[in-house]
């Protein structure tokens, strides 16, 4: 564990490098706490409606593609690993490896979005987008099934938006690392992007079983 660590500069407003690092990381966690509450409200909404419409939600969830959801979970878990490796190499100040693993993370994130896009397209073709063209059999579950798909698109859509933002932030980081910009000499910016990315992964860890794997 005694690996060479990158030197860090301490800004004037901080006592020392520990205080500086802690401030950045606690600041990021403060943002993540608001994100936890934000997604938590959506999850609570989903749970209330799922308990109230259990059979209908079970019928509706059969229209989701479990293999694609499984692949996407693997993709996202792998991207978390590669993000952790990016941070690891940032801490050791090895920009080439850092750039390599950051690029792999971005590629996986985009792969996730492509798979999600195929899933959404499939739902569109099957008439499962809530609205005037929504079709669902059996007819007795029409309304709760539409509710299920509203929640499905809201939850996975919000998550996909977070993935997209993650890709954009990672792209900016990649450029800064590639041009050896002074702001990414310190590993903390990469660490903070990593915290955000792992949070996005955690949201999906709960979305996958809740939406795709409803027991009968």
């Amino acid at each position: 564990m005694v690996q060479e660590q990158a030197p860090q500069n301490v800004s004037l407003q901080f006592e020392d490098v520990h205080q500086q690092n802690e401030s950045y990381i606690v600041g990021m966690w403060t943002f993540l706490v608001t994100e936890i509450m934000f997604f938590g409200a959506v999850f609570a909404t989903y749970l209330v409606y799922r308990v109230a419409n259990h059979t209908a939600f079970w019928e509706a969830h059969l229209r989701l593609d479990i293999p694609l959801g499984f692949i996407n979970t693997c993709v996202l878990l792998t991207s978390s690993l590669t993000m952790a490796l990016t941070v690891h190499y940032a801490q050791r100040q090895m920009p080439k490896q850092q750039l390599l693993w950051l690029s792999v993370t971005m590629a996986l994130a985009m792969a996730f979005l492509v798979v999600k896009g195929f899933e959404y397209h499939h739902k569109y073709v099957e008439g499962l987008i809530p609205g005037p063209n929504f079709r669902f059999e059996p007819a007795e579950y029409f309304r709760p099934a539409q509710l299920f798909f509203s929640l499905y698109f809201a939850m996975t859509g919000l998550h996909a938006l977070h993935v997209l933002i993650g890709v954009l932030v990672m792209a900016v980081m990649a450029v800064l690392i590639a041009i050896r910009h002074s702001s990414v000499q310190d590993f903390i910016p990469v660490e903070l992007v990593g915290l955000y990315w792992h949070f996005v992964d955690i949201v999906w860890i709960f979305l996958f079983p809740l939406l795709y794997l409803i027991p009968r």
Binding site: M1, V2, Q3, Q5, P7, Q8, N9, V10, E15, D16, V17, H18, N21, E22, I25, V26, W29, T30, L32, V33, I36, M37, G40, A41, A44, L47, V48, V51, A52, H54, I66, F70, T73, C74, L77, T78, S80, L81, M83, A84, L85, H88, Q91, R92, F187, E191, G194, L195, H198, F199, D201, I202, I205, F206, F208, P209, L210, L213, P215, R216
Partner: protein, 110 residues
Amino acid sequence: MALANGHDSHTHIVPIRVYLLVYAALLVLLVLTVGAAYLPGRHTLLNNVIALTIAIAKAVLVVLYFMHVRYSTRLTWLWASAGFFWLLIMFILTLGDYFTRHWVPAIGWE
């Protein structure tokens, strides 16, 4: 401890081996979740409990190792737990309300 020369080993660099082990554990738990969903017979409650337990275990692994909370300062630890603790309060109050409404039927509440 507070050596501000930038060369002390204040930040714990997690070895790659640990990341790979956590990743392997996450994949095993993922396969278990999918497997549990295909258990024969109807065990709605059991299945839900298994799925949520596995999801929480995966989230804890990600938070502790990938997000470095295990190696972070106490303040970070407190902040991270506060987030999930507040989430728990929101769930208990919300679900406690919805799941007990039918105990006392009232006109206008569905």
